[in-house]
């Protein structure tokens, strides 16, 4: 029953699902919206805000409201009006810079170290217990130690990104290197290629697809973790912004943040997907 499905068909169905979802959301938010009407002491209302004074909850935003708010935010993404009021683009840029820094440092450590582990069974066996114990630790558990030793909250979140993205790259590099075909290594040996030349010209390209897979997993995890890390340390970044908007009860902003985080995450994944395709080889 595998009929050929065109992209246009799939896109059409996607759009239909999206429209139905937004329609139901809009409709239910409207009908279940603020009850209103109850008599209020105007002073009480002024103190607490109308919604809270009514004893009701902030109504969940409708898609149309979110769309309006999204337009407001993306129309001017890079404004800075004081430390607590900066454009969404600035916040995303902070988060991306931290992820980028932590990820690159992790790659700079994990790929050479993974190379050594992959080449040396002794080193692999010796380091394996440490890796196995440290790998499952939630990166946020490192945050207090990082804050204590580093003292700078921004650098601490970079450290947390480093810690969470180092493991997949380390393990994948080690695996990719250790599973380089013996026949290719034998070719290099019979050609008397030096160690460095063999590593650079044979092992690295052979392992590159596996390494890239590790990098792709890492960047995904890093992007997940940065939101939580920034919620913890505060100051700047998309995670902080989400928490800030929660404190402001701006649910529309949170929905928008979720959407943007998703889109940026998708773009990061695609970026590494392109890189992976560039180093892929087929037998």
């Amino acid at each position: 029953m595998s009929r050929h499905v065109t992209n246009a068909q799939a896109a059409l169905l996607s759009l239909a699902i999206l429209a139905a979802f937004l329609g139901i959301w809009e409709f239910s938010a409207r009908s279940g919206g603020p009850a209103g009407g109850a008599a209020l002491d105007p002073e009480y209302a002024a103190l607490l805000g109308a919604a809270a004074a009514q004893g009701g909850q902030t109504p969940f935003p409708m898609p149309s409201e979110i769309a309006v708010r999204l337009w407001e935010l993306v129309r001017d993404p890079f404004y800075i009006r004081g430390p607590n009021d900066q454009g969404i683009g600035i916040q995303l840029a902070y988060s991306l810079a931290r992820v980028g820094a932590g990820f690159l440092i992790a790659a700079a450590v994990a790929i050479p170290l993974g190379f050594l582990i992959g080449m040396s069974p002794l080193l692999s066996a010796a380091l394996n217990p440490f890796i196995q114990v440290l790998r499952p630790v939630s990166p946020l558990a490192w945050m207090p130690l990082a804050l204590y030793t580093i003292k700078d909250s921004s650098v601490s979140s970079i450290f947390v990104i480093f810690i969470c993205s180092v493991w997949p790259m380390l393990l994948n590099t080690a695996f990719g290197v250790s599973s380089t075909r013996k026949e290719w290594l034998n070719v290099a040996r019979t050609l008397e290629a030096g160690k460095l030349k063999t590593a650079w010209k044979v092992i690295l390209p052979a392992a590159a697809p596996t390494i890239l897979t590790g990098m792709r997993i890492s960047i995904g995890i890093a992007w997940l973790v940065i939101v939580a890390a920034e919620m913890l340390v505060g100051g700047t970044g998309i995670g902080y912004w989400v928490w800030n908007q929660w404190n402001n009860l701006s649910l529309a902003d949170i929905v928008i943040a979720i959407l943007l985080i998703g889109i940026v995450g998708l773009l990061l994944d695609r970026l590494l997907g392109v890189a992976a395709r560039a180093v892929a080889w087929a037998e």
Binding site: R181, E183, R189, T190, L191, A193, P205, W281, A282, E283
Partner: protein
């Protein structure tokens, strides 16, 4: 034995509890093509790997050009059973990689040019920019041959290079190798279990008994005149005697001769036979 380019002296491969072969002696002369024929499991590939320097023998030594080998060398190029091309490199880059090992000082342009020339020699000039995945099995093996010959080795080692190919391609490549080796007067050692391949290419054919404790039971001297080609090979006088002799060995005697050698067995002086040589009548007795 003094004019031997390679002499294999008493090499052995032992694993705990098993001796694959031991006390193996043979030699290969300069410009000679030697085939090693035997069944799987007799340690043929191990012998080749020891000659290549990829493995060390458990015992004994291999002397090449007067020196005991201690590891792989550019002087002994290997054509592997699987083509062993790097799939991320084009055909040209694969050959150029080998050339860059031989000539580290060559600039890129010169390496490219030489790689192209090597590919032209095996008729693959048009496929220089293709990755191995885009090439057929026979073409891949041709690139492997070009890579091995490009570095101008003193000796060519081949481990069943054509066994993974279909019969038609195999035939074409055998003739190609025959031509290239003859042109360059290349010393070569090849493992095969294709009898016709051995007869077409080899000057001498070493017949190995089944393992464990495999040994070279006999050396068949191929007296069929060169040049040989596949089209006329089986019409050559003596061809059938030669072929039958080797087939008999593979089917029956490789099994019956296996195991402990006879008491008067001298591994350094393995009997030589010339099945293809026309029977020479005994010299006429002088009249009384």
């Amino acid at each position: 034995m003094s004019n031997a380019y390679v002499s294999v002296e008493a090499i052995a491969r032992r694993y705990p509890g098993a001796t694959i072969f031991e006390n193996l002696w043979f030699d290969i002369r300069r410009g000679e093509f030697v085939c090693l024929v035997g069944h799987s499991g007799c340690g043929k590939t191990t012998v080749l790997n020891i000659l290549a320097g990829l493995e060390a023998p458990s015992d004994g030594a291999v002397i090449v050009d007067g020196q005991e080998i201690t590891g792989p060398s550019l002087d002994r190029a290997v054509i592997f059973q699987g083509h062993a091309l790097m799939p991320w490199m084009t055909a040209e880059q694969n050959v150029a990689f080998a050339l860059s090992c031989r000539h580290p000082s060559w600039p890129k342009a010169k390496l490219r040019e030489a790689a192209r020339a090597a590919l032209e020699k095996v008729g693959l000039g048009h496929a220089a920019d293709k990755k191995p995945a885009q090439l057929s099995g026979g073409m891949k093996q041709r690139v492997g041959i070009a890579r091995a010959l490009a570095i101008a080795p003193k000796m060519l080692l081949m481990d069943e290079p054509f066994s993974a190919l279909d019969a038609l391609t195999r035939g074409a490549l055998q003739e190609e190798v025959s031509r290239l080796v003859t042109e360059a007067d290349q010393t070569a050692f090849m493992i095969t279990h294709d009898v016709d391949e051995a007869i077409l290419l080899a000057d001498r054919i070493l017949l190995m008994t089944n393992g464990p404790q495999a040994r070279v039971a006999e050396v068949v001297v191929n007296t069929l005149p060169r040049p040989r080609d596949r089209a006329s090979l089986h019409h050559m006088p003596g061809y059938h005697e030669l072929r039958d002799h080797i087939l008999d060995f593979l089917i029956t005697r490789s099994r019956t001769l296996a195991g402990t050698p006879p008491a008067d067995w001298n591994p350094r002086d393995v009997p030589e036979v010339r099945p293809a040589q026309p029977h020479v009548p005994p010299p006429p007795r002088a009249a009384a």
